[in-house]
Subunit: 232 residues, 2 copies
DNA sequence: ATTCTCGAAATAGTATCCAATTATGAGGAG
DNA sequence: CTCCTCATAATTGGATACTATTTCGAGAAT
């Protein structure tokens, strides 16, 4: 009985398989740039480094492949995937269509707890100077805004979309000016949500996504020009 | 040289790993109902039956898990996932937002080959009496309509959404009347695309998705009532 | 009838081995 | 010097055997 209760101290929901832990770790490394795009994932090297065998490692790689973060080619191995500017823009197109939908459904249903959490996440993001986990905080803020919509599946899908884009967003210089603009957008969206103003809130979100996309694409093409200069 | 050419007779792109083959086979079984929702996937039994070892089988299962077709619980195994009516409706919501977007972008760019392929798929679907692969043909038709949009990522994502819904659509009685209505919708969408009439084409698609969703949900609630009657 | 215990069965993970393919690199032909 | 060839190393893909946990159900004890 006592041993049984002792077990329950660690609830089942937090016990995770090794595969899942490896997936999370590899995803983290890809998102923060530790594993840059194009890097090949060597099975034995990674397995040794992480102190695991190849079975859970390979399962984790398959999971990341399904998420689009890596691509495998038969007998050649797995590399961190590389998105073209068009594909990157496509991700923002998906965000635009799905997030405005969820936000519209969520605003009338958001609870005080939702508001508080979103507020806290803005706070946390404005305090931390660490750029490497901006993507994580950014996603958690957006998720907090949409969770009340109850759209579990779409949220899971959107997290993957955010993950795929976050690498490049993080990669951008992301000057402090940009960060502050993002934060002020977030403040505004939350404020409209508090007022239950669906129309202005959704419109704010729409312009927010459009601006982030535009800035990123502009930054990318600047980077491409720099690259050409470098070659010349 | 000659041996080199002989190799090329089988292009690299069609050589697939065992993991991929297993994934496809399991997905097929889930979609056609051979593996009903709630069924547990026994690793050793399946591995023996398919004549493979557990390594590629487990990788395939992880892939399907990422697609949402199965869910795993630590130490308990993997079962074919089960969607609630709300979640099913959510899938159609995603389709509505993303497919209208893609179709709008695709119509001005569709080639004669795209039209021909879509036409052929309608033909094929109207001839075959086999309901079990209606979902596959249905998806391939829609994909043919959207491919010209060039949105590779969104298409991949939508295929997964279709797969998740197809099980339930197939499960429905899907009386011949419904099938004919679907086919006539498809004909109309293709016709508007040929006319490059974006507005009417997209509107047709929108109503098409809404009707399929409505029919499915109605059929489900009828089924639930039947279930209650059966209990009583 | 309820609870407890124990053993069977399944999953999770490790270690090791082999086959198939790809990458590499030294050496030769032009 | 460059390009091609071919043997060899490295890597992935897959199979097998084994151990450790955990779940779950049958039967025993109360």
């Amino acid at each position: 009985m006592i041993s049984n209760m002792a077990k329950e101290i660690v609830p089942k929901s937090v016990r995770t398989s090794l595969t899942e832990q490896i997936t999370t770790e590899l995803r983290r490394r890809i998102l923060n740039g530790q594993l840059a795009e194009g890097t090949t994932l060597r099975q034995e090297r990674l397995a040794t480094e992480l102190g695991v065998s190849r079975i859970p490692l390979r399962e984790a790689i398959r999971h990341l492949e399904a998420e689009g973060l890596v691509v495998s080619e038969l007998h050649k191995g797995t590399i961190v995937s590389c998105l073209s500017p068009d594909e990157l823009e496509e991700l923002f197109g998906i965000r635009m269509r799905l997030e405005t939908w969820l936000f519209e459904a969520a605003i009338p249903r958001m609870s005080q707890a939702d508001f508080d959490q979103a507020e806290a996440l803005i706070e946390e993001a404005s305090k931390t100077g660490d750029v490497s986990n901006w993507g994580e905080l950014n996603w958690r803020f957006h998720e907090a805004l949409y969770r009340a919509s109850g759209s579990r599946i779409t949220l899971k899908l959107l997290r993957s979309v955010h993950d795929n884009a976050a690498r490049y967003v993080n990669l951008q210089l992301m000057v402090m000016q940009d960060v502050e603009r993002e934060l002020s957008d977030h403040h505004a969206m939350l404020a409209y949500a508090r007022l239950r103003d669906v129309e202005r809130g959704v419109d704010m979100l729409r312009r927010h996504i459009a601006r982030v996309s535009r800035n990123l694409m502009a930054s990318l093409s600047r980077g491409a020009e720099e690259g050409l200069k470098h070659i010349a």
